[in-house]
């Protein structure tokens, strides 16, 4: 399995790792800058990168601009875009919970990606460079002028930023704002101007990296943003969130790790190594490799991460009434499309219940919930296919397996707080998908599992649309009642105590880790059941069935409904599964409209539709 390459090969792997790391670096600097100032993971950064690449393409193709002019246009265009993002998406959300701007950046990235796709078509395009065609031989490979340009811009911009932050007045204002926004304001700093500057610089850098990477690979496409954000975030976490020089070193390390991972185990293990590195760094040095000892511990996120708000009081009859209406619905209308969409919504609602528990009630914002779904789906499918267990047994067993495995996997992240939990869980979710891809003897890898038996209870087939609908609804109601009962018990109070102030909770003799573990076990059970039912509904699953986009969707549902709010989670699921179906008539525009709708909802209800509990 493991192969040990020769000495010259090691040299080549090292150079290749540095070349790729160089590219990640450009992305990570922008992300680090924004995080440093506004404590925000900017999920729209990858989209700005895509926009930059396309501005460059348009300039080269239509105006025939030489490279320096193209770069200037991209910097200007994306700088303005950055200002617009700050203005439209984030400034109106000041003072609301931190989580709201995070969601806003996700919405903005949908909108930007979709606009690029509509304007430039989804086809990939070549982006040819007019740079001279000389290459320097290093090892057995070569590097060209673009490699050097990318390195120069990466290191140069990091140095410039470092100087700017250290030696200029505006730079001081930026750092003051980063340290304490309110104090900075009292000292007369125009915090809005600082934010605007930071977003403009970061977006300009992001756009420039899109252009350079596009030129480098002679390839741009509207779908390239998500992967870019993902790798940029990982790189900057390794270097220390918000640490600009650290971001560059983190990127190079990430590039090297991936390259050595390929060297030792093969290409399909590449990302596995990237995410393992992320988890190891987070566990051992949660502030990044380059955090100095003097640095203050990560800001206690307690109380500030999740907006305190009063949940909307629903009339007592409303939830039972709606549940009853949902139960009798199939008897009243003959609309399989509606029932299927609602079945999907019930399944996502189970996932959202699970996430609203860990993210809302316990304050652990998880971005890896698709991993739990996948574990549940594979567990139930394998139990039914390999051991011939009846489906009625394999589904609850899958819930238990997911509870156990999920808690075990997330255990290392329990000591982390705030954004670090999100990133760690994002990494863990990716690792689950990559293990499924590579553990072929169990999962059949990319071929996937087919012929998964449909839902049934002994002597009672449940495969018809209506029966599936009722089954999913029944499970959802049971899980919802169970969770609501738990939240009212002492356990629920302890969970909220851990969320609101884990130091105070510890002072009262509560062990936060154990309670977080319990929450992930309960949440893992719901998510596992949801995954298991999905597997039997689809009859076929592979490693691509539950992507990280599913995790982001689940988080969006939970935030939209109001963190910790059970009814809100179900409402969020119904809305976010239902809206894209409702917008179907608009064909290619539907994701764009969905993104705009999301932004509007966050703009007007940053605490969630039904409020946090």
């Amino acid at each position: 399995m493991i192969s040990f390459p020769s000495a010259d090969a090691w040299l080549d792997y090292t150079i290749n790792g540095l070349i790729v790391g160089n590219i990640y670096g450009l992305l990570a600097i922008g992300l680090a800058l924004i995080f440093g100032v506004s404590h925000l993971i900017n999920f729209a950064h990858g989209s700005v990168y895509t926009v930059g690449a396309y501005i460059g393409w348009a300039a080269i193709t239509y105006l025939g601009t030489p490279l320096p002019v193209t770069m200037l246009l991209v910097v200007l265009g994306c700088g303005l875009l950055g200002i617009a993002i700050e203005r439209i998406g984030l400034r109106p959300l000041q003072g609301s919970a931190r989580i709201a701007p995070l969601l806003a950046t996700i919405g903005i990235s949908f909108v930007l990606d979709q606009i690029v796709q509509l304007v430039f078509s989804p086809d990939p395009r070549g982006l040819a460079t007019d740079l001279p065609d000389w290459r320097i031989q290093i090892g057995s490979g070569t590097i060209g002028p673009l490699d050097l340009l990318i390195a120069a811009i990466g290191i140069g911009s990091a140095a410039l930023l470092f100087g700017f932050l250290r030696f200029t007045k505006l730079g001081w204002a930026v750092r003051a704002t980063a340290q304490d926004r309110d104090a900075a304001k009292q000292m007369g700093i125009d915090v809005d101007a600082v934010n605007r500057t930071v977003f403009a610089i970061a977006a300009a850098l992001g756009g420039l990296s899109g252009l350079l990477v596009g030129l480098y690979y002679n390839h741009i496409d509207p779908g390239m943003s998500f992967q870019a954000t993902l790798k940029g975030v990982v790189a900057q976490v390794i270097g220390g969130m918000g640490n600009v020089p650290g971001a560059i070193v983190g990127s190079l390390l990430l590039g090297l790790t991936e390259s050595y991972g390929v060297a030792l185990f093969g290409t399909s293990y590449r990302n596995l190594f990237a995410f393992l590195l992320l988890i190891i760094v987070l566990v051992l040095r949660p502030n990044g490799l380059f955090a100095s000892r003097r640095q203050a511990p990560p800001e206690p996120m307690t109380g500030t991460f999740i907006a305190p708000s009063r949940p909307i009081a629903l009339p007592r009859w409303l939830v039972p009434g709606l549940t009853l209406a949902a139960i009798v619905l199939p008897l009243l209308v003959d609309a399989p499309y509606l029932l299927q969409t609602l079945t999907n919504a019930w399944l996502y609602a189970m996932l959202a219940l699970s996430l609203t528990l860990v993210a809302g009630t316990v304050g652990q914002i998880s971005l890896g919930h698709a991993g739990l779904l996948a574990i549940g789906a594979y567990a139930s499918a394998l139990l039914a296919l390999r051991l011939d267990l009846p489906v009625g047994l394999s589904i609850p067993l899958a819930g238990i397996v997911t509870a156990a495995l999920g808690t075990l996997l997330i255990w290392p992240a329990f000591r982390l707080r705030g954004h670090y939990v999100s990133i760690a869980t994002l990494g863990i979710g990716e690792i689950v998908a990559l293990v499924i891809l590579n553990w072929e003897s169990l999962t059949r890898g990319p071929i996937g599992l087919s012929g998964i038996p449909p839902l049934e209870l002994p002597h009672l087939p449940l495969e018809s649309t209506t029966a599936t609908y009722w089954s999913a609804l029944a499970v959802l109601v049971v899980l919802g009642l169970l969770q609501s009962r738990l939240l009212k018990s002492h356990l629920g109070r302890t969970w909220r105590a851990v969320r609101d102030d884990d130091i105070a909770a510890r002072a009262y003799g509560v062990s936060p880790d154990r309670y977080k573990g319990l929450a992930f076990a309960v949440g893992g059970f719901s998510a596992g059941i949801a995954g298991a039912i999905t597997a039997h509904l689809y009859s076929y699953i592979n490693h691509e069935t539950f992507t990280s986009q599913v995790s982001i969707l689940a988080l969006t549902m939970v935030i939209l409904g109001g963190l910790g709010n059970l009814v809100g989670a179900v409402l969020g699921a119904v809305l976010l599964v239902g809206l894209p179906e409702l917008f179907r008539v608009t064909v290619e525009f539907r994701v764009l409209i969905y993104g705009v709708a999301l932004l509007l909802l966050i703009r007007f209800r940053p605490q969630g539709l039904l409020g946090t509990v």
Partner: protein, 398 residues
Amino acid sequence: MPIDRRPSFLSRRGFLAIAVVVAGCSGLVPSFADAQTAHASGEPILLGVSGPLTGQNAQYGAQWKAGFDLALDEIDGAGGIKGRPLQYDFEDSQSDPRQSVAIAQKFVADKRIVVEVGDFSSPASMAASPIYQRAGLVQFGFTNSHPDFTKGGDYMWSNSVSQADEQPLLAEYAVKDLGLKRLAVLYLNTDWGRTSKDVFVKTTQDLGATVVATEGYQPDEKDYRSTLVRVREAKPDAIILISYYSDGALIAQQVRTTGIKLPIVAVSSVYSPKFLELGGDAVNGVYTTSNFFPGDPRPEVRNFVEHYQAKYGKEPDAFAARAYDTIILLAQVIRDSGTDRKAIRDGLAKVKDVPSVVFGKVEFDPQTRRVTGAKQTDLVVKDGQFAVWDGTKPVVSN
């Protein structure tokens, strides 16, 4: 935390205004079913298409549409199906199984839809299969090479080129014709790439060649340098690409910039003008195959290529050809068997000798519900163009 009371530049009203404008623009787009200008009159016959128009695979959905529209123009120009125009309802699934199952219910309940086409990825297609099977609506998966796709039931049919069919031909081209003996295989790590790789490796070994390395890469990968070092270390005499055109072009470029001079042989999925555009000089000398070729004397190919160029001003690619073929085939089946859903399924088993760009003539094996015998032309990229391979063997340098 003090609350900022200053009015913000973009007020709630302003924000709403933007939303209204965006929503308003979307109203300008006509739906596909209306967009066809029908020469044939009468009640249209509707095909349901489930595929990606947005999201990661949107580019392939766009190729589908190009192929579909060309075929529909042709069918309607010739008077439609017994005077009725053929049209399609393309629902965007983003290749997401959650959406493809909902679309399946929508199509199944819509009595106007006589047959369903798609989806693109296996997870999205096969998740919807139980719904089509139960309702008795043919699910025609024309890109679904997954060996288990048609095992979903007797309403699952596919004219996708079977990898059990295509890979041995590619292996013969590489081993017998080009004389390559030590192969390094790079494959797209999806169900398609993996199935293809397994068949290819087996056949090349039967033909007496050695596979010295196999490397599976993820669809969103952009950098292959380290993979290529691994390949080089295995000392192959050629690189085999089981790729689509966009990743294939990326790999070919990086093969050249990392100083590897080995010949490259690629599967027919790279046959696209985009492969030449994205690959530039690096794809010169790449050996590949195609189910059709503009110089092909077969009348169905000439017809397809000429009309495609006239309508879109560019060369067709493999995906567009398969999409075009599918509509021509389904139109013929509906013409022969009528618009009843079950009759169409029975008709697929009986259909014979429908002209096809990919297969020459189409006929299904009623047991596997697949078509065999794809045509294959051996090609090589010369001066930035696909050309018929002239029999010259590559000079193997190391």
